[in-house]
């Protein structure tokens, strides 16, 4: 069995993990809406996994949509320059 030792922190403290978990908790929409600070580690991890998966799914859908749009726009360069000037 090969386990990777983290070189920065040979002993990982629980406080560290709790801190990281709470930071992660702030980002999750689910737990943020309920406004409770008492989410267990398991729940935070579960919500994180779900959220990351849903974000991946969204990105997939958006990229499919973008690919369709790209195929329908023939010569993209004039619009691309316009879009560039808009975005920038």
């Amino acid at each position: 069995m090969s386990s990777r030792r983290s070189r920065e922190a040979p002993r990982i403290t629980d406080d560290q993990i709790i801190q990281l978990l709470s930071k992660l908790q702030q980002l999750l929409p689910e737990i943020r809406n309920r406004r409770s600070n008492k989410a267990s580690a398991s729940k935070v991890l579960q919500e994180t996994c779900n959220y990351v998966r849903s974000l991946h799914q969204e990105v997939d859908d958006l990229s499919d949509r973008l690919s369709q749009l790209l195929s329908t726009v023939d010569a993209n360069s004039p619009e691309a320059s316009i879009i560039q000037s808009l975005i920038m």
Binding site: Q16, C49, E58, L70, E79, Q84
Partner: protein, 239 residues
């Protein structure tokens, strides 16, 4: 489906290509300036916000990402051949996804593990795809999980030895690119940054899709509305 898309006059196709290359050079210059500005603002934001978290929600980051994404998307479009591409849609969706992820990783400026993992995996996949095609390796952004053997690494937590928590931590480590064998605090930190980056990616791509489909997006300025009106007034001949 976008019924009225932006289709310019086909007469100016050749001149557009010539202008495109010169514009690309100009765009790169402007990009460098904007990314330089972004870097300054990033350093300011870093002092204000947290220590090591890239401010993904800043406008500048989104602008940098959008412009780079446009370039990458144009390459995708040119790479898969111009003209009709009805058969290539599923592969192109994946190519767009990969390009978006790659641009996201580049925008991260290599400070996080997941961004480095995405960029190195792209290189690995390029080499491995030609060798191991019979394996059925799908070249997706998350294709690394099929290439590497699943190995079990031991957590060093004391009180959180519950199998449920460990299992979920494993799953999360698999979801975030480049964090399969990392210990839990690393995974958590990477996940924090990764989620913020993904949110920005979704926002930027949605805005871009809205722009391209000729609709009026909420995040852009009023110019987008004008652009949409342009497309409607042109009434493209074919779709």
């Amino acid at each position: 489906m976008a019924s009225s898309t932006l289709i310019p006059n086909p007469v100016t196709n050749n001149t557009d290509r010539a202008r495109d290359s010169s514009k690309r050079r100009k765009r790169k210059k402007i990009q460098r300036q904007s990314s330089g500005i972004g870097r300054d603002q990033n350093s300011q934001n870093l002092n204000n916000n947290n220590d090591q978290i890239t401010p993904w929600k800043s406008e500048v980051q989104q602008q940098v990402y959008s412009s780079k994404l446009l370039q990458a998307l144009r390459q995708v479009r040119q790479g898969s051949g111009s003209g009709t591409s009805s058969t290539k849609t599923p592969r192109r969706g994946r190519a767009v996804r990969e390009a978006a992820d790659r641009v996201l990783a580049v925008t991260a400026k290599g400070r996080t593990r997941w961004s480095r993992a995405i960029l190195t995996n792209k290189l690995k996949l390029k080499f491995m795809k030609s060798n191991r095609r019979q394996r059925g390796v799908v070249a997706t952004a998350t294709g690394n999980r099929r290439l590497k053997k699943p190995r079990v690494s031991i957590l060093r937590l004391k009180t959180k030895n519950l199998p449920a928590v460990q299992r979920k931590a494993r799953v999360l480590g698999r979801l975030v690119p480049g964090c399969r064998k990392q210990p839990l605090p690393v995974v958590l930190e990477e996940a924090t940054d990764y989620i913020a980056a993904l949110e920005m990616q979704v926002k930027a791509m949605a805005a871009l899709a809205d722009l391209l489909s000729g609709g009026s997006s909420s995040s852009s300025s009023a110019g987008a509305g004008n652009l949409g009106q342009l497309s409607f007034s042109r009434s493209p001949p074919s779709l």
